[in-house]
């Protein structure tokens, strides 16, 4: 499923990112190919969101290089990344609580109708699409004109995911999309990820749930304290080994035993 | 009561301005004395656009007479013309004497700020001043700006205009600063006795410059008049604002009842309150009559 010989859709080369005196990324490299799901794993604070931020144009890397389709790029803003076909679900969702679900869904990419100076935001179409996409993910919004601030945590996450999936063009980045989701919604999202991959997009999927990762991922990159611990294809590594790698080895054995391997 | 004629007064001075509060007191006293109803209106800042609308609003109420101040005949002219057209007798006061006849105003009470300023400038020269600091607590208020301009013309020597806010601490500090930065200033002229004049006396006395720097001010206040009486200040310029309020209202009351009106303009100032006359005025000034 991975295509090691073809040009990767996205290539990250030795990227570092400093915030003031904090070194959030200390040299990370990674590739994503078309038609594959790359899972990004790692402990809290490992730097996953920061790495994703540099790919989505939110942060500019302190050093290192990004390549899209083999060409070096610099994203000055998230808009640049979107224009390059990279859609992202952010861990903090990037939604405006006071705005309606529909307005949030289409924020920055509003469908228009009419001509010339009388072009207008096609609200009817937008409402319809929003309602449909939300239903698909298993949420029946009462009213797409309802403010996002009144949605539950999981419902909000669903809006963010539905939006990214709807607009994803070449690469879809999902930062812990399933963390607040119920069982039905989670399985929906995982199925979606599979469908998206089959349609030839590259997906970067961040999660703490190794089962979820193992269910949809082809390759697994583990970050630890701002550095890559290496990338493994699915056939090279077992779920338990992945789990251990992610949490830093032996610590987990104890805990796992104690809680009856249920984590 | 029914049958009581209503006279409306629209001016450009806020009700909280010491000068205009005296004008208002005069108008209200005239109302009492001549048994008419007076309503006094003014915009909250020097705002010609808003004042024109206030005149329009007054015209809508078809009063028996209208009193206006007219610091900007261009801006207020059309509204005043409308009043005249509506058959309302209009008297102007304080400012706008030059435009009075053109606009069909019955007569004018007051003194043009510009010419009053010239008289004050000349008086300061006569008293031996060589460089004047004119402290303006509300720059952009055209009436106040004209006071300084008139002084400049009448004085014939260097006059520096110093803009400040109406804050007493700031005014005193700035006067101190100006006096220590420019030692050649020997006259401080305030445009308002309570706001600037009293502070100027405090600054000059505090810096031990009483012998060298003369202080004078427009308008009256009890505190400033006391300084005049004690010789700490030269004089206060009196435009007789009480008169500017009283005379138009009482004349319009007579007009409403008997159809009589003075035939010419009434000059109300400037007069100077000096060391000799100050003591009698203090008490009246503290009550907002002078």
């Amino acid at each position: 499923m991975a295509h090691p010989t073809s040009t990767p859709l996205i290539e990250v080369r030795d990227v570092t990112k400093h915030f003031g005196s904090v070194i959030a990324l200390g040299g990370v490299s990674m590739t994503v190919h078309a038609g594959e799901v790359l899972c990004l794993l790692g402990d809290n604070g490992a730097g996953k969101s920061t790495l994703i931020g540099t790919l989505a144009g939110v942060h500019q890397p302190t050093s290192g290089e990004l390549r899209v389709d083999g060409r070096p790029v610099r994203f000055a803003s998230p808009r640049d990344a979107l224009d390059a076909g990279i859609a992202t679900v952010y861990q903090d969702l990037a939604m405006i609580p006071l705005m309606s679900v529909t307005r949030n869904f289409f924020m920055g990419r509003e469908p228009e109708t009419g001509w010339g100076p009388f072009k207008r935001f096609d609200m009817a179409l937008a409402d319809r699409i929003t309602h449909e996409e939300m239903r698909r993910i298993g949420i029946d919004v009462r009213d797409p004109q309802q403010a996002v601030g009144t949605l539950s945590g999981g419902e909000r996450q669903c809006v963010a995911i539905a939006r990214a999936v709807h607009f994803g063009a070449k690469v879809l980045i999902l930062d812990e999309p399933t963390s607040a989701l119920g069982v039905a919604q989670t399985s929906m999202v995982l199925k979606y990820i599979g469908q998206v991959r089959e349609r030839g997009l590259g997906v970067i999927f961040i999660t703490h749930n190794v089962r979820h990762a193992y269910a949809v991922g082809q390759r697994f990159t583990v970050l630890n304290r701002g550095r890559t611990l290496g990338t493994h294809a699915k056939h090279e590594i077992s779920m338990d080994a992945l789990q251990n790698l992610m949490a830093g080895g032996k610590e987990l054995a104890d805990v796992g035993a104690e809680l009856g391997g249920t984590i | 009561q029914a049958g009581q004629p209503t006279i409306l007064v629209v001016t450009h001075g806020q009700a909280s301005d010491p000068f205009w509060s005296i004008v208002k007191n005069g108008a209200m006293q005239a109302a009492k004395d001549t048994n008419v109803k007076v309503e006094y209106r003014a915009p909250e800042t020097f705002d010609m656009v808003a004042m024109a609308k206030l005149i329009d609003a007054a015209v809508n109420q078809k009063p028996a007479g209208l009193v206006v101040s007219n610091p900007d005949p261009d801006a207020l002219g059309p509204a005043i013309r409308r009043a005249v057209a509506a058959g309302i007798p209009v008297v102007s006061m304080n400012s706008g004497i030059a435009a009075a006849d053109k606009l069909g105003i019955a007569f004018h009470v007051g003194q043009e700020e510009l010419s009053a300023g010239r008289t004050v400038g000349a008086e300061l020269k006569k008293r031996g001043g060589s460089k004047v600091l004119c402290v303006n607590q509300e720059v952009g208020n055209a009436a106040l700006d004209q006071r300084c301009k008139g002084v400049t013309e009448g004085f014939g020597g260097p006059v520096t205009v110093m803009p400040t806010s109406a804050d007493p601490a700031e005014i005193e500090s700035k006067i101190r600063a100006a006096l220590s930065a420019d030692k050649s200033i020997d006259v401080v002229l305030g445009l308002s006795a309570p706001l600037v004049g009293e502070r100027a006396v405090a600054a000059v006395q505090g810096m031990g410059l009483g012998a060298k720097v003369k202080v004078a001010s427009y308008d009256l206040s009890a505190g400033f008049l006391k300084s005049v009486a004690e010789g700490k200040a030269e004089f206060a310029v009196d435009q007789q604002p009480y008169l500017q309020g009283y005379v138009p209202v009482s004349s319009l009351a007579l007009k409403a009842r008997y159809g009589t009106l003075p035939a010419g303009h009434v000059p109300s100032g400037p007069s100077f309150v000096t060391k000799a006359t100050a003591p009698q005025v203090i008490g009246l000034s503290a009550k907002g009559i002078r």
Binding site: A56, D92, L93, I96, G138, R142 | E44, G87, G140, A142
Partner: protein, 375 residues
């Protein structure tokens, strides 16, 4: 990839959600935040109807308080858009004075024809709006403090410029004479529908003065501008993508940027729009008064923000409406002029203004909470 994923197997099509209380279509219709501002307006109107001279609500009286309300309202619409977009422009009032100076200076001092003077005035406003925006965006300082600096700077420049242009005074006159006969003038000065009004006066439908002139000669042109701007702003806010961007930029600039909204460009456009509104008011008032002075527009930035807040705009951005600002301006204009028609002493003017504001806003708030349900 719209619509290419497999259709949902899990979405049970539910006709109605059992977790929604029944709401009548009427209740849904009035469930708009603007209703609050309308409520405030009704309250204030009722108050004046009961205490003020009846001439306040004659045709002439209404025109009389609508004219200043319209001048304020044009600024308030600009301020409201900018506030929804998450920024302030405190230089609005000084901008009116400065644009007035440029406009009157062009006409009176340089004897430039009206169209060119208009061009110069609006160009100046756009340039200053751009400077405000650039400094705010580049430095990351709050726009409050940046535009505050320009409040002082523009007011100061107006004073200096006026003294220079008028040879020492702070008033510049003679504008009406300068624009006489210009074809563009009727767009910015005087009244419209004058023919209609004098026809109505002839029939006796409108009160006339003793000399036979109608009491109202037409609709002051600023009222038409005010209504037109409100309509355009409402349309942009609610019906175009730019409106969506404005709400997003003000609601959460970072989130909006992440979603691809060109936040910087939106804010620049808003600063420029606001400055242009100020220039429009400058042109209207200078032509109306025939003169300009250094105090024009004094504290108007403040009043514009008040009107916008009365109309329901949040100071923190991301929420509000142009219609709200429209009604807010009318409330403010009505209270401002209304006292004249009552017998209340002028000394109580500020007490009255403050009290009415508070009442209108509290009432507005109650109505809004009532119609939109518990928060």
């Amino acid at each position: 990839m719209t619509g290419t994923l497999s259709p949902p197997e899990t979405g049970q099509a539910r006709a109605a959600d059992e977790r929604l209380k029944h709401v009548s279509p009427m209740a849904a219709l009035i469930r708009r935040p603007e209703l609050g501002a309308i409520g405030g307006l009704v309250l204030v109107t009722l108050f004046f109807l009961s205490v003020a001279d009846p001439s306040m609500f004659s045709l002439a009286g209404v025109m009389n308080f609508m004219a200043p309300a319209a001048q304020l309202g044009i600024l308030a619409i600009g301020a409201a858009l900018l506030m929804i977009g998450g920024e302030f422009d405190l230089s609005l009032g000084s901008m009116v004075a400065f644009a007035g100076l440029v406009f009157a200076g062009c006409l009176v001092v340089w004897q430039v024809p009206l169209p060119l003077a208009l061009l110069a005035t609006f160009a100046t406003a756009v340039a200053i709006g751009l400077v405000n925006a650039q400094i705010t965006l580049r430095t990351g300082l709050p726009s409050f403090i940046v535009t505050l600096a320009f409040l002082f700077i523009l007011r100061g420049l107006t004073l200096v410029g006026l003294k220079w242009a008028s040879g020492g005074a702070t008033q510049l006159r003679g504008v009406k004479e300068a624009v006489e006969g210009s074809v563009l003038a009727p767009l910015f000065m005087g009244h419209t529908f004058t023919g209609l009004f004098s026809w109505m006066a002839e029939r006796g439908w409108i009160a006339r003065f003793d000399n036979g002139q109608p009491a109202v000669t037409g609709i002051p042109i600023e009222i038409l501008w005010f209504i037109a701007l409100t309509a355009v702003a409402t349309w942009v806010l609610l019906r175009t993508k730019y409106g969506n961007w404005i709400f997003a930029a003000g609601g959460d600039a970072k989130g909006a940027r992440k979603s691809g909204v060109p936040v910087a460009r939106v804010k620049i456009a808003l600063f420029i729009t606001t400055a242009a509104c100020a220039a429009l008011v400058a042109v209207l008032t200078v032509l109306d008064a025939g003169s300009t002075d250094a105090r024009r527009g004094f504290q108007k930035e403040f009043e514009a923000i008040i009107a916008a807040v009365i109309g329901g705009c949040l100071l923190t951005g991301g929420y509000g409406s142009a219609i709200g600002a429209f009604f807010g301006s009318i409330i403010f204009g009505m209270v401002l002029i209304g006292l004249t028609y009552t017998g209340i002493d002028q000394d109580f003017y500020l007490v009255f203004l403050g009290g009415m504001l508070l009442l209108a806003v509290i009432f507005n708030n109650i109505v809004r909470k009532r119609v939109t349900g518990e928060r």
